[in-house]
């Protein structure tokens, strides 16, 4: 080792230069992949706004379709979707959250619990058309609900149940174990611990999962096609035993099943649908950010 000041011991070597090149290459590669992901989403939105934007009006949103669905509005479909999603939530949220609480707070790690977890994962992987057929068999025929909002919503609920369970489970698990131990060591029962500490601190995560589920349910078409959504029903449903139109199915119908539809109409429907979904996602993110900001530990 020389200590003479002329030799720069920090000088760049050949190896450094070639390493830097590789480094730069990968950086650009990964960045391009990310941009590629955003591209389709941006394109879809741009086309929808460009072609469907002019369709959107107060009348379009709040009047019935007329002239064999080639003109008029989408009001029954819009309301129908709200019905379907609300009833599905009423069913899947209490059930899913309860199951998540059991799995996270009560269940011991044994073969039975592992089997339940496996079932949930598998349920998430079942194609939606299979759920649709199950819905027909179980709710429409066996329970005798007929093709109705109830049958369609239950089918949607079953389909989204795994999402609710998994997201609720994750947010329950995110509550530090130390809080539970503190409660237990003071003689709190499991339920007292859940009620007073675990749930209040995981509710933001659970709600986020629920809102994500809403947006997914809104867009589903296959599960409701045979169970409760109608091709064309120019009036509003009055109870859960009625059939209803739905936005997603309406989009399918006006795009492929009906002749002489003006070009902008399907785009308009699609824009309303995606608008609903994006609004709910945005609400979910905003809500989560708000609740996170309040929480401190």
């Amino acid at each position: 080792m020389s200590n003479s000041p002329e030799i720069n011991i920090f000088a760049e070597s050949e190896l450094n230069i070639s390493n830097k090149k590789t480094e730069g290459l990968f950086r650009i590669l990964y960045m391009m992949m990310t941009w590629l992901l955003i591209l389709p989403v941006a394109t879809i939105l741009a086309i929808l706004v460009y072609k469907g934007g002019p369709m959107i009006s107060f009348e379009f949103l709040f009047s019935n379709p007329i002239k064999g669905m080639t003109a008029g509005g989408i009001f029954p479909a819009l309301i129908g979707t709200v019905w379907l999603v609300s009833v599905a939530l009423l069913f899947s949220v209490p059930l899913g959250v309860a199951a998540a609480i059991y799995l996270s707070e009560y269940a011991k790690d044994n073969w039975f619990t592992r089997m339940i977890n496996l079932a949930i994962i598998n349920l998430a992987g079942v194609p939606s058309i299979v759920h649709a057929l199950f819905g027909v068999g179980a709710f429409v025929l066996f329970f005798g609900f007929g093709t109705s909002i109830l049958a369609a919503s239950l089918t949607l609920g079953i389909m989204t149940l795994p999402v609710v369970i998994v997201s609720s489970y994750e947010s329950l698990q995110a509550v530090p174990m130390a809080f539970r131990e503190a409660c237990w060591s003071m003689g709190a029962t499991r339920w007292q611990t859940i009620r007073r500490i675990v749930l209040p601190n995981s509710v933001s995560g659970i709600l986020t999962g629920v809102i994500l589920e809403v947006s997914r349910t809104t867009g589903e078409t296959a599960p409701i096609m045979f169970t409760g959504a109608a091709f064309f029903l120019p009036y509003l449903p009055e109870s859960v035993f009625d059939q209803t139109m739905a936005l997603s199915l309406h989009l399918f119908v006006v795009s492929t099943q009906v002749p002489h539809v003006p070009e902008g109409l399907p785009y308009g429907v699609a824009l309303v649908l995606i608008g609903m979904v994006l609004t709910m996602n945005a609400a979910s993110i905003a809500f989560r950010t708000y609740l996170r900001g309040r929480k401190k530990w």
């Binding site: 503190a182 007073r196 601190n201």
Partner: protein, 264 residues
């Protein structure tokens, strides 16, 4: 407490007999026989993995939630076996408070933290006046020397306090339910020297009213802040003696080696 139990244990708060404990197939405690005196501070020392925390966690049965733990033998607290058929877990935990290594105040206000345990054990039908709650809170916080610091903002979140204050709060919240025994699992290891001194001082203050069993890695702390000392090694009790005696004149060679820092 029944008369029988007072008769048999005037002197001891915790007595374990032939206590064996397994985590799955690994045996962590071997025939641990201990009698821990009432109303004093007893410290447990020993190298990592010697079973001292395991023992502590067996006393209030908090080990139990791990499904793979198996226990034989008995632990009597105030003369009654905590593992008996008719011992209610909630009552066991109420009688035996615990302070953890890392301060774990609940994400609630200071006030709600202190009154939490009391509320747990009060039936819904029984209305506790705000005045009564305030009294309990003031008393508890005064006992842990925290009252003057926090009395003006009891609504503040307990998780925003300093670590030292958090640990004091964790001790204070045990007091309203009047436990007979307080277990402490390395209560100062997350604190700085100043915090450690303050919490040790507090533990010393509490010793007349409670039996305190404290696990520590810090031998100087065991020496300063306990009256009796237990040395454990590989799941067995090696020595149990008054602290002064053990540190000046240990009976066993292993104890001497450990105290002098030759291992652990």
């Amino acid at each position: 407490m029944s008369e029988v139990s007072t008769a048999t244990t005037g002197k001891y708060s915790i007595e374990s007999e032939k206590l064996n404990l397994w985590y799955g197939s690994f045996q962590a405690l071997f025939d641990v026989d201990l009698r821990i005196k009432k109303g004093i501070i007893t410290s447990m020392i020993g190298p990592s993995g010697c079973g001292k925390s395991t023992y502590l966690r067996s006393v209030n049965r908090i080990n139990e939630r791990l499904g793979y733990v198996k226990i034989t033998g008995s632990i009597k607290v105030m003369g009654q076996n905590v593992y008996a058929e008719d011992a209610e877990l909630v009552q066991v935990r109420k009688q035996i408070g615990m302070v953890f290594q890392r301060p774990n105040p609940l994400p609630l206000s200071i006030r709600d933290n202190i009154i939490f345990g009391h509320r747990l054990h009060t039936p819904k039908s029984e209305k506790v006046s705000v005045k009564k709650e305030d009294e309990l809170i003031e008393n508890s916080l005064k006992q842990v020397l925290l009252w003057d610091k926090v009395k003006d903002n009891l609504k503040r979140k307990a998780t925003e306090l300093s670590l030292e204050e958090q640990q004091k709060l964790c001790i204070a919240r045990l007091l309203p339910v009047k436990p007979a025994v307080i277990l402490m699992d390395e209560p100062c290891s997350a604190l700085d020297p100043k915090g450690t001194a303050a919490v040790e001082e507090l533990i010393w203050e509490l010793r007349d009213n409670y039996t305190i069993l404290i696990v520590t890695h810090n031998m100087a702390q065991a020496r300063r802040a306990s009256e009796e000392c237990i040395f454990m090694l590989m799941g067995k009790v090696v020595e149990h003696a008054p602290t002064d005696e053990m540190f000046v004149n240990p009976e066993h060679e292993e104890t001497a080696d450990y105290i002098e820092g030759r291992y652990g």
